[in-house]
């Protein structure tokens, strides 16, 4: 994969903006062990994140789960030490909460706790040995990194065809996985769940992600400039319709994945969506769920 020049992720946060965060503290993030015998580098969207662990079985799990996204010989943009804990340590009913406090991002859900420092670019994850928790931590971390660089994760399937990327977004049951599963052989599926959008110079790129939906398999680790976004609805006939920019922004915002309680970053994500819609055509795609819909794409 060709990645843009590194080092452009400025995640410095304005002082004082943490006044917005009135969520509970995270007293569970206690003293860390120094055990980090193994390191696995997972690069998504050209951002290499190193995961360090003492547990060789967990390393095997990561290698199996992230496959083509495992990199070696690169310098990590971020490093997490993963501390494995027994399942059920936290309240499994807890919803995801993400906030910034005292120079650190804090990520919590019923199955994990994580922090990472913007200054040191290091953090710790406490979770049981399962792929779902680490997957969520990575997703959330990438949304935070992308927010300051004009990109975002979109709840969408995406695919590369003839050197261009096409995104298919919509709410649940709109057809994201359906259209991905109908893709012909000349199409490379980037994801059927969470599309990775980055602004690179004056255009937007889509990257493959390991974040899988109902298809249950990671996307191909390739990238391509985004040619169009299709907002899906199932219908009796295939039809593409133009969409007014305001409506396109509204619909995109409903599908952009962002978890942090942070008005400043929320504003940036909104501005990113506006800039994206100004640069990339967004259409309404009504489609009958069979392979003929791909005659309209690419």
């Amino acid at each position: 994969m060709n990645c843009p020049k590194r080092g452009n992720f400025n995640v410095t946060k304005r002082s004082g903006s943490d006044r917005f965060f009135c969520y509970k503290m995270a007293p569970h993030m206690g003293a860390l062990s120094n055990c980090a015998d193994h390191e696995v580098m997972i690069e998504i969207g050209c951002i290499p994140i190193a995961l360090q662990t003492c547990d060789s079985d967990f390393v095997s799990l990561l290698r199996s789960r992230y496959g083509d996204y495992i990199q070696t010989g690169k310098t990590a943009d971020f490093t997490f030490r993963v501390e494995l804990i027994p399942p059920g340590t936290f309240n499994p009913e807890d919803d995801a909460e993400v906030w910034f406090e005292k120079g650190e991002w804090r990520l919590e859900r019923g199955d994990f706790r994580a922090t990472w420092s913007q200054d040191t670019r290091q953090g710790v994850i406490r979770q049981s040995a399962n792929p779902y928790s680490i997957d969520s931590v990575l997703r959330i971390t990438h949304t935070l990194l992308l927010a300051r660089t004009g990109g975002f994760l979109l709840h969408a399937s995406s695919a590369e065809r003839n050197g261009k990327a096409y995104l298919f977004s919509g709410l649940s049951e709109a057809g994201k996985t359906t259209i991905a599963s109908l893709a012909p052989a000349d199409v490379a599926l980037l994801t059927d769940e969470a599309s990775y959008v980055r602004r690179v110079a004056d255009h937007y790129m889509a990257y493959g992600t390991p974040f899988a939906g109902e298809l249950g398999r990671p996307g191909k680790n390739v990238s391509a400039p985004i040619a169009a976004v299709y907002l899906l609805e199932k219908a009796q006939q295939n039809r593409i319709a133009n969409m007014e920019p305001a409506e396109a922004i509204r619909r995109l915002m409903r599908n952009i994945l962002f978890f942090a309680h942070d008005p400043e970053l929320v504003r940036l994500v909104f501005e990113s969506a506006c800039a994206f819609v100004a640069a990339v055509p967004v259409y309404q795609l009504s489609f009958f769920p069979d392979e003929r819909v791909w005659d309209l794409i690419g």
């Binding site: 920019p245 929320v266 506006c274």
Partner: protein, 98 residues
């Protein structure tokens, strides 16, 4: 008894983008999105903390749109109430420093 004036100002907890003669506004506190049509956009743009709602209705709505004063007043007050309820507009009976 004198009528209390209503002053309007844009909240600082929003992100907004004007597209043509419409405006899309999002609350950065709860991510609620509002789409304003041209008349709503006219009120929104005039909400500078010093303008009163009655002046906006008279000078922006009745002067620029084909709408009777009574209807414009009712619609505008409903619009303002809704945006204020979501923290998009700030409403006061005094000028609002920006």
């Amino acid at each position: 008894m004198p009528t209390t004036e209503t002053y309007l100002a844009k909240s600082t907890d929003i992100a907004a983008r004007k597209l043509g003669d419409e405006t899309i506004i999002m609350s950065t506190l709860d991510s609620t999105i509002f789409m304003l049509n041209p008349t709503g956009t006219a009120i929104w743009e005039a909400a500078d903390g010093n303008a009163t709602l009655s002046r906006i209705i008279e000078e922006k709505l009745c002067a620029e749109f084909d709408v009777p004063l009574e209807q414009a007043s009712a619609d505008a007050r409903h619009f303002v109430d809704e945006l204020a309820e979501h923290g998009i507009l700030v409403v006061s009976d005094h000028p609002i420093p920006q």
